[in-house]
Amino acid sequence: MSGNAITRAEVEDFLYHEAALLDEWRLDDWLGLLTEDAAYYVPSNDSPDSSHRSALFTIADDINRIRARVKRLKDTEAHAEFPHSRTRRLIANVRITERDGDTLTVAANFNVHRFKRGAPERKYVGRYLYRLVSTPGGLRIRERRALLDQTELGALGAVSFIL
């Protein structure tokens, strides 16, 4: 299907589905939403518009490291996430900002609540920038970039889960 035929509602359904997989820690299913060349970025809070090749990020994973991250997170010795945090993702203000052949650029706001026993509630607030590809099997993620609004991670501590 050409990217031109994709509606915002279809993109929203896709992002809601992704959020549900991540909140349910169905990480292998989530990997299935990614292309073979996917990338996942969380820039440093003070440098949201920079490149991971010239600025220090919080997370800058190519597909190999995304897979390694998932493998790690499924291991009970990934201590920061064992037991897993509970997360609840609210995705809103979804917009298709660009269409180029089978590729869509999508912006969305997020509010990810994270809870852990013995830890304060943490709210990760910001926006996602996606590059989605329309494939015969449905939409796939080529790039997801999570830009935090917090000026520093501060009390959020680590980004030890998939944001």
Binding site: V42, P43, S44, N45, D46, S47, S50, H52, R53, S54, A55, L56, F57, T58, I59, A60, N64, R65, A68, R69, K71, R72, D75, E77, A78, H79, A80, E81, G118, A119, E152, L153, G154, A155, L156, G157, A158, V159, S160
Partner: protein, 427 residues
């Protein structure tokens, strides 16, 4: 205070080193160390590369005070206290930039790049004798640098920085030698995150190799999966990561100094870097050998050094070069700030490799740091028992004469001895 037990029991003959846990949990100890330790030390403020031209500034909190780390009109580095001489409002509220004036928006006093008070609205209403020359911005009592690293001290009688750094200078030299021109620079992008734990736990953790195998097994698996050789070293008492030593460097500074196995951007290739990176790393290595000679080049490129500069600066010089400093905001909470440092003349591809290498282990999204944070917060939770379970044990290696291993604890003891010395001197 007679009833107080000692902070540490240091008995080399009895081969015992014990640490009283109130040092990590008692709010009274925390209040005392702000003055007895931090106000009696040189505290890392910033790197010269962060401000380059006259008028460039960075605002940050150092040693509990808001400061402006700045270049004055002549391009010299100054560290102003960020408080208006009128009523103490901050005169600069941006994180970074370049300015001709530091303006206090409250009543409008303004200061030039050299800290001189140059503007006072309605100056004629002050009584005779009011002289703007008396109201220049205050500065840190001492500000000095070693090879681009700037420190300040609020102790007017502190020893000179070069003397204070003592044996740590050798390890800063090894950092700076990685640049062909001796010019390192802080790379854009700051990691700032809190840890709900006492700051001294991060000192220990930053160069505690004893925990690597258990806390970071998933990271070691990642390295193995990526084809990196992670062989347990042979020999009695040797644990992963590799053969290394731990030692004090004087004045509470200490280091672990290990044979590299995890790769170095300057300059030791590992499989994670990819085949295409080999020629460039070989070229970086060749430049090192040509400039420094075979022996010094090997020293720079084949060992990893985790350095603690007392009290709260950590430079991890290994899979990347990190500058990490932290400030306690309570007995059980610290704010951590971390930067990446690299040679100024590094190529685009080498810089990208350095940053990628940083993230595999370090930082709040890395494969190891979040587990360290978890460990420290777990320790702090356990420390609520400090009145009942009073002592921690820190005696690894005390049965050995001479060199101590990186997985021993002599380097931790060196930090704690200095801390204890300052705290008991102030009592």
């Amino acid at each position: 205070m007679l009833s107080e037990k000692p902070f540490i029991i240091d008995d080399p003959e009895g081969m015992t080193f014990r640490l009283n846990r109130r040092t990590l949990a008692d709010p009274g100890v925390f209040e005392r160390e702000l003055h007895a330790v931090f106000d009696r030390s040189w505290i890392y403020c910033g790197h010269e590369s962060e401000i380059r031209k006259p008028g460039d500034f960075r605002t940050r909190e150092v040693c509990g005070r808001p400061v402006i780390f700045a270049r004055d009109s002549k391009g010299d580095i100054r560290v102003f206290l960020n408080a208006c001489q009128h009523r103490a409002a901050q005169v600069c509220r941006e994180p970074r930039g370049n300015t001709r004036r530091y303006n206090c928006f409250y009543h409008g006093w303004s200061y030039d790049r050299d800290g001189r008070l140059v503007g006072v609205p309605g100056e004629d209403s002050y009584p005779p004798g009011f002289d703007k020359a008396d109201y220049a911005l205050a500065e840190a009592p001492h500000a000095d640098s070693y090879k681009g690293f700037w420190f300040i001290s609020f102790d007017r009688h502190i020893q000179p920085l070069a003397d204070y750094l003592a044996g740590a200078r050798e390890y800063l030299d090894l950092v700076v030698d990685q640049s062909p021109s001796g010019t390192m620079e802080v790379i854009q992008g700051t990691q700032e995150y809190d840890i709900r734990a006492n700051w001294k736990l991060l000192v220990e953790n930053s160069f505690d190799d004893y925990h690597l195998l258990t806390t970071h097994r998933t990271w070691l698996d990642y390295m193995k999966d990526a084809g990196v050789q992670v062989e347990p070293p042979r020999g009695q008492g040797l644990l992963l990561p590799s053969r290394g030593i731990g030692k004090g460097l004087g004045n509470g500074h200490a280091v672990i100094d290990n044979i590299n196995f995890r790769g170095r951007p300057v300059a030791r290739w590992i499989s994670i870097y990819g085949e295409e990176a080999k020629p460039e790393i070989e070229a970086i290595r060749a430049e090192l050998v040509e400039r420094l000679g075979e022996q010094r080049a090997a020293r720079v490129a084949d060992t990893n050094r985790n350095l603690v500069i007392f009290p709260n600066l950590v430079i991890n010089d290994g899979s990347s070069v990190t500058i990490r400093t932290f400030w306690p905001v309570a007995v059980d909470r610290m704010k951590v700030t971390a930067w990446a440092l690299g040679p100024a003349e590094e190529s685009e591809s080498a810089r990208a490799r350095r940053l990628d290498s940083f993230l595999t282990f370090y930082g709040p999204g890395g494969f190891a740091t979040p587990d360290d944070v978890e460990a420290l917060e777990s320790v702090q939770a356990g420390l609520a028992t400090w009145r009942e379970a009073e002592w921690s044990v820190m005696s690894r290696g005390m049965n050995k004469a001479g060199e101590q291993l990186n997985t021993d604890e002599e380097h931790l003891r060196s930090f704690w001895r200095r801390w204890n010395q300052l705290m008991t001197a102030a009592a």
